[in-house]
């Protein structure tokens, strides 16, 4: 019953929620990021990070350091925390945590299929996959020639199987189709996740529907911005938008009809929650759109922790952790390439 979850939530979820909040206390703060942005070399970064929760993971990385090693170790920490939680959890939180990985699974599938298309070695691609999205038989993806085979050989046994019904065609895989496949899968995944959260009910349903609505609308804007000027038709574009969210259905019709970035801005400015995003960008500037959206997302994710006794803290924690890894990657790359002035362009502070 909404409002009374406090009475029974802690039976199954109390311990894990407390652990998740403990992890959240270990996220890097503005002070940490300022320290990191003043580092001269990658070894300095490693030294700064030993004062944070990453200490045990970075202790054994051999010098000379590489940016990919730092990012890999930070991702290992994320995976360890995820597995720790997943091993102690019961329904429905276990299904909820599994839903968090499906996005990465979709990314991994697309990575391997694209890489195979461009004749890269399977093992190299497997190493670049995100560890949270691995599943058995992922290596078999390299063998598939078209989507039906992809589905029949590999994906039918994975949790992504139900998302495939909308994109089964007999066409061969090429770059355009793979991007369409990625977006169609992700759309189905978001809708499924949304329905699942609604079925849990209570505070989880309310908070998660807000967060997923934001993500769906963000994706709609991204799809629109990326597909102006390409050969994607309006109807195809329309089919890639999710069936929920603030922009559904009228915003989607308008977005499908826009032809340039300012048109997108005109559509989105009719929706007050997203006006803050576009207010930061002056006319015609689309490079900072990603960063503006990331900042908006981080702001919403940190607000989720204000309420207790729901599952959205897990979603928020993992998204914030991923944002932190992206920040660390940007800082490490800037430092490695001697571009320290550009550090603050690419990172989004959490608190």
């Amino acid at each position: 019953m909404y409002g009374f979850e406090a009475m029974t939530f802690n039976v199954h979820g109390g311990f894990l929620e407390a652990i998740c909040r403990g992890y959240r206390a270990g996220l890097l703060t503005t002070a940490d990021y300022n320290n990191l942005s003043q580092c001269e070399t990658l070894d300095d970064i490693k030294l700064s990070l030993t004062g944070t929760d990453y200490a045990s993971y970075l202790a054994n990385v051999p010098s000379p350091l590489q940016t990919s090693a730092i990012v890999e170790k930070c991702t290992d920490k994320l995976v360890d925390e995820y597995n720790f939680m997943l091993s102690q959890v019961s329904e429905p939180l276990s299904t909820f945590l599994e839903y968090l990985t499906y996005g990465h699974m979709i990314d991994n599938v697309v990575l391997i299929v694209t890489g195979t298309l461009h004749e890269r070695d399977v093992h190299e691609l497997l190493e670049k996959c995100h560890p949270l999205g691995m599943f058995d038989s992922i290596a078999t993806l390299a063998v598939a020639q078209n989507m039906r085979e992809l589905y029949r050989l590999v994906l039918v046994d994975t949790p992504l199987a139900p998302y495939f019904s909308e994109c089964l065609t007999s066409e061969d895989l090429d770059d355009m189709n793979i991007e369409i496949m990625r977006n169609t899968l992700y759309k189905a995944y978001l809708e499924d996740f949304y329905q699942f959260c609604k079925s849990i009910g209570g505070a989880t349903a309310e908070l998660m529907s807000d967060l997923l609505t934001f993500e769906a609308d963000w994706r709609a804007v991204n799809i629109t911005v990326n597909s102006v000027g390409t050969e994607l038709t309006r109807d195809d574009r329309r089919k890639l938008y999710s069936e929920f969210g603030l922009l559904y259905p009228y915003g989607h019709e308008e977005l499908a009809a826009t032809e340039d970035f300012d048109g997108v801005r005109a559509v989105i400015e009719k929706y007050p929650p997203y006006q803050a995003v576009f207010a930061k960008l002056s006319f015609g500037e689309s490079q900072m759109l990603d960063k503006a959206f990331f900042e908006e997302q981080v702001k919403r994710l940190t607000l989720v922790f204000e309420q207790q006794f729901h599952y959205a803290v897990f979603y928020a924690y993992f998204k914030l952790r991923e944002q932190e890894i992206r920040n660390l990657m940007w800082i490490a790359e800037c430092v490695a390439q001697n571009q320290k002035t550009r550090v603050h362009d690419g990172i989004v502070m959490t608190f």
């Binding site: 802690n10 039976v11 109390g14 311990f15 929620e17 407390a18 909040r21 992890y23 207790q308």
Partner: protein, 178 residues
């Protein structure tokens, strides 16, 4: 008495022995209080254990929340003991006199008052204790302020105990000399 004019349901209700009402009251006072206390303790305890993994310093201070919940169970035990000392036997001819019925109802009501007041008090203190543990883990200055809220919450159980004891004090069974 106009019992012969009353419906059969009223008849049945009025013929329930005052001993059953009293015994039920005593059972409710301890049983439901312990339900409230245990509910509160598990709510606080699970959050406390999880939060203490990252912030071990909170464990000793936050046991106060558990102690407040436990106090609720103790109130229930005390009132149950007081109530059972009030339960006396009367002669079977006097069993349905108005004084006996009154005493039976008084003990029953006292049990319900104490039981349910302690149930919600235990729940309240437990939920606040859980939030207290999680906030203390993030920011240790918050502990004392949230403790004040818990103190107000545990006063609710005390109100129930006071009224319950007053109710039971006036439960006087008819003496054998009448």
């Amino acid at each position: 008495m106009a019992l012969s004019d009353a419906s059969s349901w009223l008849h049945a209700l009025l013929y329930i022995s005052p001993y059953s009402f009293s015994a039920l009251g005593i059972a409710l006072s301890i049983g439901v209080s312990v339900l409230g206390a245990s509910w509160g303790i598990y709510i606080t305890g699970s959050s406390l254990i999880g939060a203490a993994i990252k912030a071990p310093r909170i464990t000793s201070k936050n046991l106060i929340s558990v102690i407040f919940c436990e106090a609720v169970a103790i109130y229930g035990v005390i009132v149950a003991i007081i109530l059972q000392t009030k339960l006396e036997s009367v002669k079977s001819s006097q069993q349905h006199f108005p004084e006996s019925m009154r005493a039976g109802y008084a003990l029953f009501a006292s049990g319900i008052i104490v039981g349910f007041a302690n149930l919600v008090c235990g729940l309240c203190v437990g939920i606040i204790g859980s939030s207290c543990a999680l906030s203390d883990a993030q920011n240790s200055t918050l502990f004392v302020k949230i403790l004040v809220i818990e103190i107000f919450g545990s006063a609710l159980g005390l109100f129930g105990v006071i009224v319950g004891i007053i109710m039971s004090a006036q439960a006087s069974w008819p003496s054998a000399h009448i």
